[in-house]
C-alpha cells in the first residue's frame, strides 16, 4: 500500500523534531509555490503527515564544520542528526519574494537506531560510530507548547535542562566528531493532545485564480533505485519561476539505519525537456553536481544517465544516475 503511516519516527522525528521548539512552522513545510500534487508527494516522501503523539527528547550538541548536531529520542528510536540549514526564514522569504530567489538547500543526515528513551534517560549504540548514554537533569521552569495542528491548550509540556553522561560519535571519515559529557536539551511530553494531522496547506493564490487550469511550464522528474537494504530517490519539480528538489538516500547497516536528504529550492529552471517528452536534462546547483539525462525510446524504454550526484553530510558524492534507476518525467499537471 502506498504511504502507510510510518509512525512518527520517520524523518518527521529526525527533521521536524530538529526544528526550534518555538518555530511557527516546520522547516519541511512545503513551500506554497508548489502545486498541490507536488506538495502531497513531498509530504509523503518526508513522512510528515503523521502528527506526533509521544514524548520526545532532544540534545543540542552545537555546530561543527557547519553542521548542527543533535540527538533526538522518541519511542524506542534514537537518532543522531547532522544538518546544514540556511534557516527557515530565508527559505520562506525566498518563496514569497517577488524576486528571483537564490538557491537554498537543507541537507540532513540522520543515524537511527533502536535504544532506550525515557523522560529521564537516553541510551543507544551507533555501532562503530559511537554511542549515547545520558541522564536528564531538568533545570528552569516548564514551558507549555501548543502546536498549531493540535487542538487544546498546552498540548506539550517542555522541560529544559542538561543531559549528563557520555556522548561519543564520529561521522564517516571524521566529517563530524563529538565527545561530550554534558549537553543542553529538553524533554517534551504530550498533554492534552488532540491532533488531526498537520495543518493543511492550501493551494497557492494563483492556483485559485486560474481555476483548475495547470500551466504547461510545470514539469516533474522522479527517479528511484532500490536494493534490499538501500534506496535512493530524487524528486525534481519546477514552475516557470522556481524549482524544488528532494533527494533521499536510505541505508540499513545492521542494527542502524542512515537517512540522508536534501531539500533544495532554486530560483529558475533546472529541468529542460523537449515537447515530446523523449529527452530531458536535469542540472541542479549545489549541493548537487553534474547533470542527469533522461531519454525515452519509442518502444517505451527509459534511460537515466549522466554525472548527477548530490552531497549529503558524510556522503559527499552520492550518485543519482545509472542504469539501475527507474525514471519518470511528467509535465503540465
Amino acid at each position: 500500500m502506498i504511504g502507510r503511516p510510518l509512525a512518527l519516527a520517520s524523518l518527521t522525528a529526525l527533521c521536524l523534531g530538529a526544528a526550534p521548539a518555538a518555530s511557527p512552522a516546520s522547516p519541511l513545510d512545503i513551500p506554497s509555490a508548489a502545486p498541490p500534487q507536488f506538495r502531497a508527494v513531498l509530504r509523503e516522501k518526508l513522512h510528515t503527515s503523521e502528527p506526533r503523539r509521544s514524548a520526545d527528547s532532544r540534545i543540542e550538541l552545537g555546530f561543527q564544520h557547519g553542521y548542527r548536531l543533535m540527538v533526538i529520542g522518541e519511542g524506542n528510536l534514537v537518532a543522531l542528526v547532522a544538518m546544514r540549514d540556511p534557516g527557515l526564514s530565508r527559505i520562506l522569504e525566498a518563496v514569497s519574494s517577488a524576486h528571483k530567489p537564490p538557491a537554498l538547500a537543507r541537507t540532513v543526515t540522520a543515524y537511527v537506531t533502536r535504544g532506550t528513551v525515557t523522560p529521564t534517560r537516553i541510551e543507544a549504540s551507533f555501532g562503530s560510530l559511537g554511542d549515547v548514554a545520558v541522564r536528564f537533569h531538568p533545570s528552569g521552569r516548564t514551558v507549555k507548547e501548543d502546536p498549531g495542528h493540535c487542538r487544546g491548550n498546552s498540548a506539550f509540556k517542555v522541560r529544559r535542562g542538561t543531559f549528563a553522561g557520555r556522548i561519543r560519535f564520529t561521522g564517516e571519515n571524521g566529517y563530524v566528531s563529538v565527545r561530550a559529557h554534558r549537553a543542553r536539551g529538553r524533554v517534551r511530553t504530550p498533554r492534552h493532545l488532540r491532533c488531526r494531522g498537520r495543518r493543511p496547506v492550501g493551494p497557492h493564490p494563483r492556483d485559485r485564480s486560474t481555476g483548475r487550469r495547470r500551466s504547461d511550464s510545470r514539469a516533474g522528474m522522479f527517479v528511484e533505485r532500490h536494493t534490499p537494504t538501500t534506496s535512493t530517490e530524487l524528486f525534481a519539480f519546477q514552475t516557470s519561476r522556481l524549482s524544488l528538489l528532494l533527494a533521499l538516500a536510505e541505508e540499513s547497516r545492521g542494527t542502524m539505519a542512515v537517512f540522508h536528504y536534501v531539500l533544495a529550492l532554486v530560483g529558475g529552471r533546472v529541468l529542460t525537456h523537449d515537447d515530446a517528452l523523449t529527452s530531458a536534462t536535469l542540472r541542479p546547483p549545489r549541493p548537487f553536481h553534474g547533470r542527469g539525462i533522461y531519454s525515452a525510446a519509442p518502444d517505451g524504454t527509459k534511460t537515466w544517465s549522466g554525472s548527477l550526484s548530490v552531497a549529503f553530510p558524510g556522503a559527499p558524492r552520492q550518485p543519482l544516475t545509472g542504469a539501475e534507476f527507474a525514471s519518470q518525467l511528467t509535465v503540465g499537471f
Partner: protein, 333 residues
Amino acid sequence: MNSPGRGVPRPFAGARALAVGVAMLALALGFATDEALASGDLAPAQVRRATGFWTPARMARARPLDHLRTGSPRISSAPARISALSPHVYPPTSPAPEAGASAVPETVPDPTAVPERTNGVVFLVAPFGLGRCSGTSVNAPSYSVVITAGHCIDEGDFFGDIFTRWVFVPGYRFGQRPFGVFPARWVGTTRQWGTTHNENFDVGALVVERNERGRLLGKAVGGTGLAWGLKPNQTFDVHGYSAEQPFDGETQQLCPQTRFLGHDPRSFLSPGPLDLAVSCEVTGGSSGGGWTIDGHILNGLTAYGYSGDPDTDFGPYFGREVGRLYVRARRVR
C-alpha cells in the same frame, strides 16, 4: 504481494496514489455493506454465504489488493500473556521437505503434496471488488488457524472495516480446490497493525470453519509449525501465489532456501522489530505467503516490496506480537 508498502512501492507511488485513492473512495462508497467487519468473530450467516459466494469464476477474477486503504479496526480481545523474548516454536503436523537453494521462484509442481498443501490463497471481498492474498495453515488445537498478512484482514486509514467474505483455499491450482473452501469465522491482526498499521507488525490470522465436506483445515492439509522470537538471520522457503506479471496467480510459487539479506531501512522509522528482506521475486497476490524455516516452521511472511527492486521481498519479523496473535486465534472456539 498485495500491498507494496513503504515509500515508493511498486508501482510508483506519488501522484498515482492520489488518483487511486480518490477512485477507491468512490468505489468504496458503493461497495461497503453491513457485513463489514475487520477483526473478531464473523456472523454465522456471513460465514455460510462466503463458501457459496466463492465460485471458481469469482476466484479467477480476484485481484491483489494494490493501493487499497480502509479504516482502522478494533480488536476486541485482549492480547494473551506471552513471555516473548525467548524463542517459541510450535511443531508442525507435516514432515519437512527436501529443497534446493534458489532465490528465483519456481512453480510448485504439486500443491496438493505435503507440505505444500498447507499454503493456499485467501480470497476476500474488498471495496474495489474481489481480492486475494496468500496464507498458510498452521498447527493449532482447533485445526483451523491460517496466518496471513495484516493488510489482508484490514487495510486501514480511509474506508473503515470493509473487507468481507474471507475464505482460504489450500493447494489452489488453476481454479481447482482440491481440499475445498474454508470460510473464515474469525479474523484478527496484531494489535499494532490493528491500531496504527505499523508495517513492522503486518501480520493477520483467520480462524476458518469446516469446508463443504465437513473437514477441518488441519485434518485436511495439516499445518506448519510456528516460531517467533528467533534470530532474523534465517534461511527461508518463501511461498505464495503471485498473481501479477509475470505470474498469473493460478499456481503456487516457491523460492527455496533464500537467505535473510538485512533490514529495510525504513523499518527503523517505526516502532517494533525490524522488517526482513529476502531475495525472491514476488508480485501482487503473494502478500501473506508464508516464509518457512527447516521446511515446515512458519517464521515470516510476505508483506511488501518496492517497484525499483522487484527481486526483493520484505516481511515483518515474527516477534512476540505474532505469538500473541497466534494465541488469540488458537483460543477461538
